[in-house]
Amino acid sequence: MRKLLLIILAMLTLCSEAMAIDRTALEREVALLQAEYDLASKPQIYMVFDPNNLRVLIKCRGAVLKEIHFERIKQWGEPAVGVSYLLKESIADTKPERKQLAPGDAADKTPLELDFMDVADMPDSYRMRFDGGMEIYVAPSQIHADTRWERFKRWCREQYKRLQWQFTDMKKARQEGYNYFVRTSMEPSDARALYWANREGTPWLVLP
């Protein structure tokens, strides 16, 4: 009889635990769906960051336009569920600059001679800071350089930047109210494409 009672009690406890977990999952799902619906209701490009599957989706009106993959992700803190983070600024060592043209500059010149801004001019190592308390650090997973020495110098620089971000910048950001930090590494071409696709004010939704 005691055994039966114990089994019933255990089953009831497990059942209640499961129900609470289901409820939490459902609440999260509704919050996320609501947030995405709010974003998709407008004619804008938005990002859905899915750290568990190492990817970010570029979306519009609920449709996936492109998927960009990360190689590694490390997180500190928890993202707010169902809240869209707005990109406030991207910080890089060298920011791509638009070429300024004066009247007559295009005369007798081909468009290639005029120069232009393309994805190759984008940085592959940068920080993205968002309104709402999220910061994403993007680093290249490989370093391409013409010589070994150049590659070594760049590698040292990347390591220094990473440590500086982790031990100094993150601390400062916490004091400013940031509470969710993500360090990522990805193919340099993907890092540049991500930078290119994100302009100030681009909304990001984070899947927990």
Binding site: C60, P103, V119
Partner: protein, 227 residues
């Protein structure tokens, strides 16, 4: 005696189970919705009847939550583009023609250079970016004629003509053009070797065959997504 004890234990267990279900706070409750939305909801909830859709998530029953999730999924699916639509990836200079989410054709394009032109007096400025976001094909033209805007003359260091006729330039836009608002077009080009580069003033240039195919598939109202 045993059966009484068993009944008592069972009822206690049931009460405890129910209490733990109700009282259990989720490990991570969803963060509150943005301020503006919350205010709107508050205003609505001041009304006589409190509808389920106005209730905050935490106040919904499990059944209501499940219903809301289903309803949101349907609403989100309804927003997704149906049929034929166009996706432009300016980072790769690629245009994808999609039919019900499946890629039907991919083409190399040229998109905006990102350059900035300032007029001689410094009063006007043009940024040669291809706009981003959702657009609609608003016009379709065969054998289009380019009506050159002011910047085209300024860039070349030429005088801006007074007569409208002096602005028209045939053949440079290829055989077809599709307008998507604010003077932006998907059109052909004489400079096919520049496809794949960001060299335009904001328009999207395509090669002849790809342009012909997209022109055939797209109708007025076809959605265009540029990122």
């Amino acid at each position: 005696m045993r059966s009484k004890l068993l009944a008592l234990a069972l009822s206690i267990a049931l009460i405890l189970g129910a209490a733990s279900c109700k009282g259990k706070e989720p490990a991570q409750t969803p963060a509150p919705a943005p301020q503006a939305q919350t205010e709107k909801k508050d205003e609505k909830s001041k009304g006589k009847s409190t509808k389920t859709k106005d209730k905050p998530i935490a106040e919904l029953t499990d059944e209501e939550l499940a219903k809301r999730a289903e309803s949101l999924k349907k609403k989100l699916a309804a927003l997704e583009p149906k049929g034929t639509y166009i996706v432009v990836d300016t980072s790769r200079n690629a245009l994808m023609l999609r039919k019900d989410s499946a890629s039907a054709r991919e083409a190399l394009i040229s998109s905006g250079s990102g350059n900035v032109l300032t007029s001689g007096d410094g009063k006007k400025q043009w940024v040669f970016d291809t706009p981003r976001g959702e657009f609609t094909i608003k016009s379709k033209v065969r054998d289009p004629i380019w009506i050159k805007p002011d910047w085209a003359f300024i860039e070349e260091g030429e005088k801006i003509p007074r007569k409208g006729a002096d602005r028209s330039e045939p053949y440079v836009l290829g055989e077809y053009a599709m307008g998507f608002g604010d003077g932006f077009f998907i059109h052909g080009t004489l400079y096919t070797r520049l496809l794949g580069y960001n060299v335009t003033h904001g328009c999207i240039r395509m090669g002849d065959e790809d342009l012909k195919s997209v022109f055939k598939e797209a109708v007025i109202g076809t959605k265009l997504y540029i990122f």
